[in-house]
Structure formats: structure tokens, C-alpha cells
Symmetry: C2
Subunit: 347 residues, 2 copies
Amino acid sequence: MKKSITIKEIAEKAQVSIATVSMVLNKKDKKISQATREKILIIAEKYNYTPNTMARSLITKQTRTIGLIIPDIVNPFFPEIARGVEDKASELGYSVIYCNTDDKIKREDKYINVLTEKMVDGIIFAHSSDRQMGFDSLDRCKVPILLIDRDYENKNVIGRVVVDNKKGAYMATSYLLDRGYKKIAYIAGSITTTTAIGRLEGYNQALTERKLVIDNRYIKVGEYKMQWGMQAAEQLLCEKEPADAIFCGNDLIAIGAIKKLKEYGLRVPEDIGIVGFDDIYLASLVEPPLTTIKQPNYEMGFKAAELLIKNLEKGRVNSVKNENNKILAKENNILLPTELIIRMSTK
Amino acid sequence: MKKSITIKEIAEKAQVSIATVSMVLNKKDKKISQATREKILIIAEKYNYTPNTMARSLITKQTRTIGLIIPDIVNPFFPEIARGVEDKASELGYSVIYCNTDDKIKREDKYINVLTEKMVDGIIFAHSSDRQMGFDSLDRCKVPILLIDRDYENKNVIGRVVVDNKKGAYMATSYLLDRGYKKIAYIAGSITTTTAIGRLEGYNQALTERKLVIDNRYIKVGEYKMQWGMQAAEQLLCEKEPADAIFCGNDLIAIGAIKKLKEYGLRVPEDIGIVGFDDIYLASLVEPPLTTIKQPNYEMGFKAAELLIKNLEKGRVNSVKNENNKILAKENNILLPTELIIRMSTK
DNA sequence: CTGAAAGCGCTTACAG
DNA sequence: CTGAAAGCGCTTACAG
């Protein structure tokens, strides 16, 4: 491929210094005469000049690139986040390097290193729930990190954008109770993540508020998979007093549960109520359509990019002051609301 | 954030020159004594040295970053591609900057510029079908481009990885004929893209091979949306001799068609056969489960990254020779096979 | 085996 | 209003 013209070459052609060219091309040209300016601009246009951002970044210490580390873009939970991030970033003149970790800490660490070497200005990170406090590669990270979806404590974390899982689970459980179901089970995908803990709390709160007893036999913990939804639903059906409604940790679990209930000849929602969490593409096409707690994934990505970049640019203004503000400003912790989407069968 | 130590500082601490440090850190240290090597390595380790790839790239003209330009990561067609690209790229030591265009040529052009400025080594590009030959921003692009999914002619295109749409459509249509359906309709999403043309050809071929007449009333052209599937299915049902099977341009169209058929009280596949193209997440959960032509999207991304990077590195070896090989080597045009996935109702 | 020097393409005080 | 110069952090011939 043909290489680009440089400011040095433009300077020669225009018979001016490279400093002047640089200033004109960067619009820091208040002090440059109109004649000079035009001469330079015309040459740059003619030779299709593209600046070399490598060279620029070397001086400015700013790449206008951010990293996005997620478990897996194929997991339908993440494309919307990724899209939100990219939309806001590109609006603000930033590019995004994206990385898939499959929730493996080794890969996370590798990507944090790579992104550091590429000198990204910041990282948006949906980390593995297995991440352990203590001796952590995040400590050695030289780049500000903003967490999404899952929370974590680390000195390099400058902010977090998470979903109000507790409220969502509360809404889901309350919805089922409002519709007259009495014994609400909860099929969880996990119980260790901050996300999962929030959902359990919301479930508990809804029951407690109505003075209902929390029955551990109705709480099943497994993985966020369809298979587990089927398995857990079967377990629930075998209890002496089977539950009459199920709040599912995510849509995949819910879909599995529905499948199993059908096998047992149970109708949803006539015989048993179901609400899922998350919002998978086509969830509305499953039969019966799945009522879910929708997570604002696009907004999560969008807000995260906005917050990160805002902080980066603020940081540049008074970087000295920022050096040891380990206490996170409250406005850097964003809790996004969820929404209950009720879907009815069209039959 | 704390800044990284530089090779200059390491050189001072180790009492050697920066050249020596550079060689050791880059493993080009055959000629360096073991003692010196170790001294340097220990210091680098101790101070948690991370190389500044900006500085390096400025000299080597290589960023080990590629661009991925796609219409929309939220469209379920693209996550698998993106994942394939990232997997292969990271395996080969490359990062990927990803961009969403919404099929807008302006955004495509913008991203091509941005990626050029960021000095990516190459671009994997799923372009808008509206792209016009002639005065084209791609011509001015300074970076090698590899096309995926959709073909296009341009001097900067060094390769293409596309799906065998013709064969896929042929398989879909033949499958329906084999099952005894007589009048196969085709609801297309488009008729202008190379992709769409391939599918139409395959459909025609299957009919022609069995000496069946191609009836234009059975071919409906619209968009790749569920809404259009519903609409077109309705149109087909209103024909004097309604079709008894439909090959759908993609899964969304197929799902829309199924929906409409249900409204008319028609059963799939007893009353009418349906085959879709593409493979959307959860397509197996729609009722009845959708038989589709699966596109090897992950492989497409994976192969694309492999092919692009292989060419980049080859190009570096003999860049002079490569300058004007406008004729694309045959091995740079990859046609990936599709697969027929038959899904039956479990009832 | 190692170092001095040039240079990648740019920005940024500083001087005039 | 404009230019000369230093320097960002690195690599790469070249010399010894």
C-alpha cells in the first residue's frame, strides 16, 4: 500500500517549518496567517495526508483508544453492551479494541497486558466472577479501569456501571405474587457473583415484605444454562409441595424450565408462572413468550464509555490532584434500573 | 496511573546502552552475554516494564492491530464472525479494533479513515451492499482490506472470504422438493447483493434441475426482517395457486412467515414447508423449530483473520514484489461451505 | 559482545 | 506570525 505523506514533506512543499504545518493541521492556528494556512491545507488535501497517530500519541500520551474486555461476544448478553460502548466512544472520537476472555482469568490478565502495551487510555471490563482479591494483575495495571455488570474492589478501578439486580429480582418476584402465585421458587445460575447476590436479595425482599417464609428448598443454584433450567425445574416438580411459580436467574434457565414443564404437561402461565432475567434475542418468540426483567445493556455500555472518557479527559486537566483519589466519587458509581417486560401468548 | 519504566531508565540502572536493553527485551540477544542479559531481565521484571508499542510501531510500521468493520454487532449474524476474528487474531498476537457502520457508507468511510490513522495493519470489512464502484474512499485507503460475507472489486482488496450462498440455497430448495413439496416459493430479503444473487441462483438451479418452471409470482423480494416475512407469506397465501413450501432468505423472514401461517391456521411442516437461511441464536427454540441453512460464521471470521495476517506478514518479507500484484492469488478467495440443519418438532 | 548515533512522525515550549 | 530545537520511547544499521 502506498504510504502517506508526512508533515515534513508538506513543510518542504509549502516552504514553511514543520511546526507551522503541525499547528495548522491541528487547528491550533490562531496565530498563523490565512495565506500560510491555506497553502498548507491545499497541499495536505492534494496529497491525501493522514496524520500518524502513533507519533502523536508518543508525545501526547493519549491514544484515543479504549479497551473493552468481555467474556464472550457470542453470548447474547454482550453485543448490546459492546454496541453501546462503541457508539459513545466513536461519538467522542475514540476507538475500541475488543477482547473475549471466556471468563478465564489468564486471558483477562493477558489482555490487560496487551492493552497496556497498546497504551489504551482506559479499559471497560466485565470481569470473571472468579477473580480473587489480593495479588492481582489489576494492581499492576497502568491503565484506569471501569467495571461493568460485575463489581469488584481494586485501586485501579475508577468507576462502575452496574444493573440494579436487587430491584429487578424484587420486581420479578412481586409480579408473580401479584398475579396470585403463592409459592415462588428461584432457579439461580450462581450465588457467588455480586450480580447473583443482588438477585437473591431482591427475591428475599419481595417474600419478606409479604411476610412469606423463605424456603430453601425452593432455591436452586446451578449455572446460567438451559440444561440447568430443565434439571432444576424437574427437581422443583418433585418436591412434596411443588412451587407454583418460578423466578429464573436468566432467560436461558427460564427457557429450559419451560421446556421441562411442557414435558410434564404443565401450561405456562396457567399452571405455573415464569419470569426470567436478561433479555435474549428472540425471547419474545419462544412459546409462550417469556416475561422477563430487561437489563439496560445498551445503556450500560453507552454510560460506561461516557463515564470512562469523561474521567480520562478530566484526569488530563488536573492529573496531579487525581493521583491519589482512591475514594471513588459517588457519580462514578452508576446503578441502572431494570424493567419488567410482560409478554403474553398471542393465542 | 503510574507510568511505566522505559528502556532508557533500565539502561541506566544496568549500566549498559539502550541498544543492548532493546535487544535483550526483544530476544534478539544472541550476541549478548548471559550476565548482561540476566541483569537487564531482572531489572525489567522488578520495575514491571511494559514496552511502549507506539514507539515501536513508529519504527517498524507495524501495529499488530487489525480493524474489523461490520454493520452491527447486535445483529445476531455478526457476533460469531467477530469472535472468530478475535480468536485467530489474538492467537497470532494481534488486537482488533471493531466498528459498527449500520450499513451507512459515510460511517464506513469514517472508520476506514480512523483505522488508517491508527495505522492498523489491515482491515476485515463486511461492507454495505450500497457501496458504488467508481470514486470510492476505498481507493484512497492506505491499508490492505480483506472482505467478508459480501464481495466487491477494489484495488486495495487483497482477499475475500465468503459463504457459498448458491449451494446453500440449492440445498434448501432441494430439501423441500425431496420432501414432496411441489411449489416452492422464495421470500428474499434483497436481490442486489452478491449474497442475495447467489441465493437466487441456487433456488433457480434446484428447480431447473428438476425441470420445474420458475414462477416469478413465487419470488418475493423485500428486506431481511420478520415483518417482511409476515407480509410476504400473506401475499403468497393469496395467490390463486398458493405455494406449499417457502425458502426464506434468512431466519428472521422465516420466523415471520411461520407466525403468519399460524394465524391462517396452517401447520408447519404438515401443511407447508419452511427452510430458512442463516442461523440465529434460539432458532431451535422457535416452535416448530426452524430448519435452516447454517452459515459458517465463526469460521468465516477465523479464516479471514488468518488469511489477512498471513498476507500481511508475507507482504513484509517481500514488499517490493507485492506492490503491484493486483491479480488476486486464487488462495486468497475462500468460499466456505454451508450446512443444512434439520430441526424437527419434539412433539 | 556492546555502544553511539540516527531516525520513526509528530508536538510543544521557546525564541525571535 | 513563524522557525529551530528538543524530545516522546523505541529499533536498527554501523562501528569498534
